[in-house]
């Protein structure tokens, strides 16, 4: 059973057509990459899955459930997490608080329980802290736990954002340019983390990325978009040699 089915997705903004009949399937446990030149509609697909946008046509099924029936905040409950292209951390909070926010939808205490704190809220804080610490260990950000996010270097912020997404215990992880703006070492680290997440946690990953080395190395399958249309899909080796893809990227 495919984890994510995107079928005939179309959306336009004003006169601009962002996506035209895009269809693809992501199998469970796969690393699926979406590539394409700037403005091809890659992030728009993510925004449709997250329900920030409502597509004009088409369907998105996640584990056989119609995502279009849900509101943006409900999508995370189904098990979809996302790391943004431009870091979208809560920058005035510590790393730890950001990660605990990743646990938000799995926690329950409300205003009264929180205000009284002793009892339910405290128990919940402590039990979820355990999972957060596991993720901190997994992504090797122990040293930054108590730091305010905006004081951290860019590469670390990117990793914290990945950690926040993982704290949501997702089935499906959407990564929007996880290595953009990183140096070679940070890029390699991140690529390794992506593979680790996929193998050890069994998370299905959809990746949008411009760094072709990373895409070719980690992806199981790749889908190529150009001006909102899908022009190719297949294994990295097939994509590398696809004449349409070469034309989209290099021009004729």
């Amino acid at each position: 059973m495919p984890q994510l089915v995107v079928k005939d997705l179309s959306i336009n903004f004003g006169g601009i057509t962002a996506l035209v009949n895009v269809s693809f399937q992501v199998e469970k446990g796969e690393i699926f990459s979406i590539i394409g030149p700037n403005g091809a509609g890659k992030t728009t697909i993510f925004n449709c899955i997250n329900r920030i946008y409502t597509p004009h046509r088409g369907t998105i099924l996640f584990q056989d459930q119609d995502l279009l029936r849900y509101k943006p905040f409900e999508v995370s409950k189904l098990g979809i997490a996302r790391a943004f292209q431009n870091i979208a951390l809560f920058e005035n909070m510590t790393v730890l608080e950001n990660l605990l926010l990743g646990r938000h939808h799995r926690m329950k205490s409300g205003v009264m329980a929180g205000g009284i704190f002793w009892g339910k809220a405290k128990r919940e804080e402590l039990s979820h802290r355990k999972r957060v610490e596991e993720i901190i260990d997994f992504l090797e950000i122990e040293a930054y736990r108590y730091q305010i996010v905006k004081t951290l270097p860019y590469g670390i912020q990117k990793r914290v954002e990945l950690a926040r997404a993982l704290c949501m215990d997702p089935f499906l992880l959407l990564l929007d340019e996880p290595v953009s703006g990183m140096n070679v070492e940070e890029t390699e680290d991140t690529a390794r983390f992506i593979l680790d997440i996929n193998e050890e946690l069994g998370t299905t990953i959809v990746l949008v990325e411009h760094d072709m080395r990373v895409v070719m190395d980690v992806s199981d399958r790749i889908c190529v978009l150009n001006f909102g249309e899908k022009i190719a899909e297949g294994r990295p080796q097939e994509i590398r040699n696809d004449p349409l893809v070469i034309r989209a990227y290099l021009g004729k």
Partner: protein
Amino acid sequence: MINGNFKTNYEDEIKIFQTTFVKFWLVILFVGLIIFPLVADRYFIYLCNLCGIAIIGALGLNILTGYTGQISLGHAGFLAIGGYTSAILSTKLGIPFWLAMPLSGIMAAMAGMIVAIPSLRLKGLYIAITTFAFGFIVDHLIIHWESMTNGPSGITAPRPSLGVFVFDSDKSYYFIIIVMVILATGFARNLFRSRVGRALIAIRDRDIAAEIIGINLTKYKIQAFSISSFYAGIAGSLMAHYFDVITFENFTLMLSIQYLAMIIVGGVGSILGSIYGAIFITLLPELIRLLTDLFRQEYPSLTTRFADLKSVTFGLIIIIFLIFGPKGLYGVWRDIKVYWKNWPFTY
């Protein structure tokens, strides 16, 4: 970083009062607060009571504006609803203060939920405008709904009583206020070390990211408004039973701006900041009065210009803080603390 303060479990980390040093001073403060009214002058107790009421109101505004990022210019409106609900319930229906106070909080909270509805679609300055309008609507209601509010002449609410004991002196009322301040501060502090508080801060910092990690913006914005106005309602109720009479003049736009000034001066998004700011802004007119009295001999005209001086200084202080200390008194205090901790090293 405090040397030698090592934690061995997660529970120690989420404690509010981390060291015995802090706990020691807290006990000192607490004892001081209890002894204070027994030795202090009646006037000082009166000022202290005003500060206490302001702290509760400022905490409420900071929850909404400082932590959740929804700028409110209508805080006085919520205080008015709290104050008038409490006064009307106790005079017209004879409901005791102990019931009227929480009810007035709830009433204000319900008004807050209604005001929250436009905020779900608006952001920033536009919310400031809707809350601003709300303040005027409440003012207008108070003046013209005479059968309920006595119109411009105001209402006199009775002092609370417990059995035969009536809290009619400043000293006895002080204890009611101090208990409410401690409860309000504790609740707010706890809120922001748990799930809901974090969600509110997340909405302030990045609302779209907050929504994607599963925070229901609608629900939490409404909650922020209702918690904030609950606080304001309680503060209003305490005002109503403390002052000899409350009229619409107690709850004008100026009061909303004073509360904004409190959180700006004290520290936006900080519990301690709300307390510092509330005390500072409440005592500011007294300080100005003290200074004008000091120079009365040389400049006799100063006394007559007290009102002007008050509003000028008020504006000046807000501007000074916005430019030189945007983190407020709390930020200044923290910077000094860090400086001395590291002295003579720079880091």
